[in-house]
Symmetry: C2
Subunit: 248 residues, 2 copies
């Protein structure tokens, strides 16, 4: 693929332009985009124009630029993971009605949990997850489930790296983490009271494909004072329902 | 942006590569991708490798290529439309519980309706919509609502073009279409019994932003024999709820 004088591919620059947009700043000027993407204004301006022409970005009447729906369409219509999400939706809805607060579906992507769905009630407990947001593997219930069943190399990489602390309850000791991963594999669930936020407990279980490989984690977030362990059976039943839908 | 000898931008080729994947064919070989994108194998192969490197495509153990989650993440996290979809989710869920069958949220994109959400029950009536699928404006209830409030140029363009027939009930006469659009603007809803499939009725109403601009259509699909008109009030109430959430 065409490379600039710095040896960088056009695609790397496109990704950096798309990364300039955040949930908090959804509309940017071309100048802001170029600066955030580390591109000369003329280059940024030309690339934004091309992205707008393809519908991957859109330009408002006020000249500000946003992410276009064409990008989402191309990303969504043939994605195996989003097909899993669509299958899982009725199950996640039932789970939300039973447990309240938040019901989530997460997958392993680039060494983190990527949340492909999060359903919430209006007065739910605090939760750091958003749809299309990421969390570190060691600090979230979904992450621990996915890490427990990940390739040994990824497990080693996480165990060797510093484990960031979010609350006093976050697992930051590699030996604790190793034990917890073994517990997940043996018992098929994980409970994380206050690991990411002091007031919230995450509970997660694995979802497997027909070959037995773990393809996602289904989880709920509830306030710490609720009987979290009582939800494990509900979550496990939800995972079995998703697996059945996946097998058809 | 860099152009090939044919004067085509790299981005045009990237879009053609992504378009090669369909809901029916989610995994392709590099050869299949190159052929569908109309690219020489060496070019296609180099571009796929670059897309895999950026996480926008993924390559399986069997060397087949799929759409990667990174693309969806970049498309989703800062999209104004997907933020609307997230806000609307609890309302769509209530709508599905009340009406049954299908509840949908569609936006205008590239002269068509693009469905950003579709919730369904297990034994729902037939429906051509999928998430991330498109329908023509003149033939679907969501499309008629969006077209009724679209720019005059787009309305003229649709009225001037041939109107494809899907069933005997599809609106294919420009004068009929013009009258129907006026009806939508006056009454705030549209009923389409059998327009797209003989057995199904679509009912849609507009969703407006704080400035009064129509930003989406919320719709339900029910069997023809149901009292479709009775659902108009339910749908209108759902649109008002979404608008309130949007205003906050």
């Amino acid at each position: 693929m065409a490379r600039s004088s710095s040896g960088e591919s056009v695609l790397e620059r496109v990704v950096r332009i798309l990364e300039a947009f955040t949930p908090e700043e959804r509309a940017l000027t071309v100048g802001e985009i170029a600066r955030r993407a580390g591109l000369p204004l003329a280059t940024g301006s030309r690339m934004v124009a091309d992205l707008v022409e393809q519908g991957l970005l859109t330009r408002d009447a006020d000249r500000r630029v946003r992410v276009g729906m064409r990008l989402w369409e191309l990303a969504s219509r043939a994605s195996p993971t989003l097909s899993l999400r669509e299958l899982a939706m009725p199950v996640l809805e039932d789970l939300l009605r039973t447990v309240g607060h938040h019901a989530q579906l997460g997958v392993l992507d680039g060494g983190e949990v990527l949340f492909v769905e999060r359903l919430s009630t209006e007065h739910a407990v605090i939760n750091y997850t958003r749809i299309a947001a990421r969390l570190p593997l060691h600090a979230s219930s979904s992450g621990l489930v996915l890490l427990a069943h990940a390739a040994p190399q990824l497990q080693q990489r996480v165990l060797d790296a510093p484990l960031a602390r979010f609350t006093p309850a976050t697992i930051t000791d590699p030996d604790d983490l190793r034990r917890r991963l073994a517990h997940v594999r043996r018992h098929g669930y994980v409970l994380c009271p206050g690991h990411l936020h002091p007031d919230a407990t995450g509970i997660a279980v694995p979802v497997r494909d027909e070959a037995g490989a773990v393809v996602a984690a289904v989880s709920v977030i509830v306030p710490n004072d609720e009987q979290a362990r009582g939800y494990v059976a509900t979550l496990t039943a939800a995972a079995r329902r998703i697996e059945k839908l996946l097998a058809h």
